[in-house]
């Protein structure tokens, strides 16, 4: 009864008072009714008012009552300045909302531990080595035979787990649930048999993979579905067990469904199907580095002491494996081999999973986090300024409160209440903003055919963060004004104010701070926006207009002549302008390098990239030939080759390359250069042009009998130039044409060249969009803050300005005294902001494209924006100062 009743009594204070009064009154009336003299009875009772007050404090939680009083007072204060309060709440809401949204993304992608047991004991193994072009790289992929050796080497202290990255594969379902055995895409992950038991996962249905399923090639034709896939593909049908699916020529039986929260170890991708490692044909190859290796420490093993010896042990095993590989280094020099074997193994904690998405977006999210934090700080400074101004205006009220006995603690509470109200209102709004914006930002990262998927739960981690943020905001907003207000000396304040400049000094400091933050945000965003623009406007050297790409697979492979016949039938379709075939599309993220050997010499250290194309591909892509000719139908590979300008510069500097020959490695057949093309970016828009050579799609094994020894082609891309503006309009009919030919060719992916290029710039587009948005918000907030401070200071100095005018100060003089110190602050803040910007830009330099932080226009842009904003923001205050009428002011005094 007691605490609860005291709390509830606090809420209904007035009713309680009435109740007590009624009881006291009834006591007296009872006494009178029993025959006592009314006056005597009242006297004997004592002061009713005093008894009621005493009773009230007993029956009420006093702290709560004063809190409620302060809250309602704070609310009235906010209502008094509706527009200012609304602006404050809105700007704080954007700040808080963006911070929470950024936290949700960062937490979900980088920090949140995987839903497995022992995630803190999980590490991922990678190696640091020298990559192509002598660049240091870190590689996290391993060959399965190597994995097995390493697994056995450390089995006493730790378990090694092999997990491949999710691959979007073409799968078909057999039996009744396939219907028309259509190809569909699913994210397939190969895992070693020990993964599910070591992660402590329990099946949602059936059983999970066990080590016995992973004994050897083909020993475990079983598949485990992820819960998510089971849910959206099969509607949680328990009869899915026992059904089989086909990948290539393999048939796999569904044996179980993984638990609902486990979506794989690759954050950002939801795995659909788990298969045993040994079911992948690469699992027996010494040279195929294709899966990651995780390391789970055994219980009781101390990571501080065990990891380093284990690393050295594994390094030795890895080196022995590398040296023993006889087929790996054909034709390489001793130095090259030594350089390759010189690998440094490293462990990284992997409790939060590991993915390319993490690698690509870690720094970007860091910058994003910085920017939203700065925006929140700017908003906080704005609101704190507003509250300081209000507090200064209320100095007399505060002095009065202190004089009549208010405790200073009570005053601090009064002001903190007001800032807490602001923060709570803002965070309620901000929560909506965060709930909408985090998934929205994630959706920006989505290439249409392979969306990034991330669990974004709003659980206790997010709530805790949000709560901490609110407390921080309340303190940032309220503490300074509260302490200032409570430090009011009543004598001075009531006499007409103490130092009138003190609050302005504080606000000027705030201006400098705001401008510095704003400048930092602007500087970073101008770097990102320029990067994006330069990337988008990079000259391609080929046409992207009306190009439809049908990425097509052919089961066990089809002869080039079949592919050509299919291309002919596509050519005959209405609306098709021209059709060509290439191994894979340009800028489709596929790259395969090849050694280049000239005149039988050892391969040069610089590799070249290649692409198989059919005759007419160059003209369909509108890639101009500089000299020589295009492929002819009778050309084959090896045999003829077309090279790009960089290839000529690298391998035949200063010579006419037409008619020269090169081979793809020592003792390989020769290719004769028949043509030279302009450079085009081949697989990554961000990278400089590489040496590229094109070879005919028609590959043969034996030069002597070209017709009989054609090598089958497993996959290729039909490049179709359409007459219509939107190439995708033709996609369905062309796909049907390919299917109707019944030659085992099937379209596995439809896209356009334009979309591929858009996909290349997704990250840049996202950061540029967000950075521009936050820059605009920061600029707006800083402008509002500047305007408010100047306006306030002019109002406060009205008397001084009036006197100055009266004694003959010129207009220029007035403008000077109003603006000079603010401009100083802006300049100071701007310099600090740029310096901070240089530091931040160094951290994210890897995200820039052909932009350097030291470029003059990169600094000029934010500087101009700040100057313009401050000009606009100061103008109203200056005009107000100039319009001051000295006679009116002096009369009012």
């Amino acid at each position: 009864m007691s605490l609860w009743s005291r709390i509830s009594n606090a809420v209904r204070g007035e009713r309680l008072n009435r109740e007590i009064a009624e009881e006291l009154q009834s006591h007296i009336e009872e006494a009178i009714a029993s025959g006592r003299d009314p006056d005597e009875a009242r006297r004997a009772f004592g002061s009713i008012l005093r008894q009621r007050e005493a009773s009230h404090t007993i029956r009420v939680a006093g702290w709560l009552e004063s809190l409620l009083a302060d809250v309602s007072f704070g609310w009235r204060q906010l209502c008094r300045n509706k527009i200012t309060s609304a602006a404050a709440v809105l700007s704080l809401a954007i700040g808080i909302g963006s911070c929470v949204a950024a936290f949700r993304l960062i937490d979900a992608l980088l920090w949140r531990p995987l839903p497995i047991s022992g995630s803190s004991k999980l590490y991922v193994l990678s190696r640091q080595m020298t990559g192509l072009y002598g660049k240091p790289i870190e590689d996290g992929y391993w060959a399965t035979p190597n994995f097995k050796l390493m697994r056995d080497a450390v089995k006493d202290q730790a378990d090694l787990i092999a997990i491949s990255d999710a691959e979007r594969m073409d799968i078909t379902w057999s039996g009744d649930r396939a219907g028309n055995d259509d190809i569909e895409k699913a994210h397939v992950v190969y895992v070693s048999g020990n993964m599910f038991p070591l992660f402590g996962l329990e099946p949602a249905l059936g059983r999970l993979l066990i080590p016995a399923d992973d004994r050897g090639p083909g020993a475990g034709p079983y598949a485990v579905l992820s819960w998510d896939y089971w849910n959206h593909r099969f509607g949680r049908d328990p009869n899915v067990l026992g059904h089989s699916l086909h990948i290539g020529d393999q048939t796999l039986e569904i044996i179980g469904v993984a638990p609902s929260d486990f979506t794989g170890t690759e954050k950002g991708t939801v795995t659909d199907i788990f298969l045993p490692l040994s079911m992948n044909s690469m699992a027996t190859e010494d040279r195929a580095d294709w899966h990651r290796i995780f390391l789970m420490l055994k219980p009781g093993v101390n990571p501080a002491t065990a990891l380093e010896p284990m690393r050295q042990h594994l390094s030795a095993v890895n080196r022995a494996f590398g040296s023993a590989c006889s087929t790996c280094y054909r034709g390489d020099t001793k130095a090259d081999i030594e350089r390759f074997l010189n690998q440094k193994l490293v462990f990284h904690p992997a409790g939060a999973g590991i993915s390319e998405l993490q690698k690509d977006y870690r720094r970007l999210l860091g910058v994003l986090g910085l920017m939203v934090a700065l925006v929140l700080l700017i908003a906080c400074v704005n609101v704190a300024n507003m509250m300081t101004a209000q507090a200064a205006a209320r100095a007399q009220e505060m002095a009065l409160r202190i004089s009549i006995g208010a405790g200073r603690r009570r005053l601090v509470q009064l002001i903190l209440c007001q800032s807490a109200l602001l923060a709570l209102l803002a965070s309620a709004l901000g929560a909506f903003f965060a709930a909408w914006s985090a998934p929205f930002v994630l959706s920006l990262v989505n290439p249409p055919d392979n969306p990034a998927r991330l669990d974004l739960p709003a659980d206790w981690r997010v709530l805790l963060f949000g709560f901490g943020l609110i407390i921080l905001v309340v303190l940032l907003l309220g503490l300074l004004p509260a302490l200032r207000a409570s430090a009011v000396r009543p004598v001075a304040a009531l006499k007409g104010g103490e130092d009138p400049h003190s609050s302005r000094r504080l606000m000027r400091g705030a201006i400098a701070l705001q401008v510095a933050f704003c400048c930092l945000v602007l500087f970073l965003s101008s770097l990102f926006v320029t990067s994006f623009q330069r990337l988008e406007n990079r000259p391609l050297g080929f046409s992207t207009d009306r190009l439809l790409l049908l990425q097509t697979v052919a089961g066990k492979g089809q002869l080039p002549v079949v592919w050509n016949q299919t291309a002919d039938s596509l050519r005959a379709a209405p609306g098709v302008d021209s059709v060509a075939i290439s191994g894979w599309p340009l800028l489709g993220r596929i790259k395969i390098n090849s050694d280049i050997s000239i005149n039988g010499a050892p391969p040069s250290p610089t590799p070249a990239f290649f692409l198989n194309v059919s005759p007419g591909w160059l003209s369909t892509m509108k890639i101009p030939l500089i000299s020589g000719r295009d492929f002819r139908p009778e050309d084959s590979s090896p045999g003829a080759a077309i090279v790009n300008e960089t290839f000529v510069k690298t391998f035949f500097p200063g010579q006419n390359p037409i008619g020269r020959t090169f081979s793809r490695g020592v003792d390989q057949p020769l290719n004769k250069i028949v043509g030279v093309t302009r450079d085009v970016p081949d697989h990554d828009l961000r990278e400089p042009n590489r040496a590229v050579f094109y070879v005919p799609l028609h590959a043969i094994d034996d030069k002597s009998a070209p017709q009989t020894a054609s090598r089958p082609v497993n996959f290729a891309t039909f490049t179709i130039h359409t007459e219509a503006k939107n190439p995708l309009a033709l996609a369905e009919s062309l796909r049907q044409i390919i299917a109707q030919r019944h030659n085992s060719l099937r379209v596995s992916n439809v896209t356009t060249q334009l979309d591929l290029i858009r996909d290349q710039t997704i990250r840049e587009r996202m950061i540029a969009t967000l950075a521009a948005f936050f820059a605009a918000v920061a600029l707006l907030l800083a402008g509002i803050g500047l305007y408010a401070v100047l306006n306030y200071s002019v109002l406060q100095r009205r008397r001084e300005i009036g006197i100055r005018m009266a004694i003959g100060s010129t207009r220029a003089g007035i403008v000077r005294i109003v603006t000079v110190d603010v401009l100083l602050m802006i300049a100071l803040g701007g310099c600090v902001g740029i310096v901070l910007g240089f530091g931040a830009a160094r951290y994210v330099a890897s995200l820039f494209y052909q932009v350097k932080a030291t470029d003059a226009d990169m600094i000029a842009l934010p500087a101009c924006a700040i100057l313009l904003t401050s000009l606009v923001a100061t103008l109203p205050a200056v005009l107000r100062a100039l319009r001051t009428d000295p006679t009116e002011i002096l009369r009012a005094e």
Partner: protein, 79 residues
Amino acid sequence: MAAIADTSGEVLRAEEGSLYPALYRMEEAGWIRAEWIKKDTGRRARIYELTAAGKKQLGAEESRWQSVSLAINRVLREA
């Protein structure tokens, strides 16, 4: 209050109203509970009764008072 004053021979006197803060304090402590009733005169009145916890507390306080006053008496007699 009148009863207290009478019984104590006017030694213990207090304002009648000061009864109520004491009653409320005991109510908050859970020693007594109160209820509004309607009297036959038509007036509303609040009546109080001891709770089980209150009876226990009363016993404890009584015995404490006994022992303290006994001790004081003894000390006074000795002196």
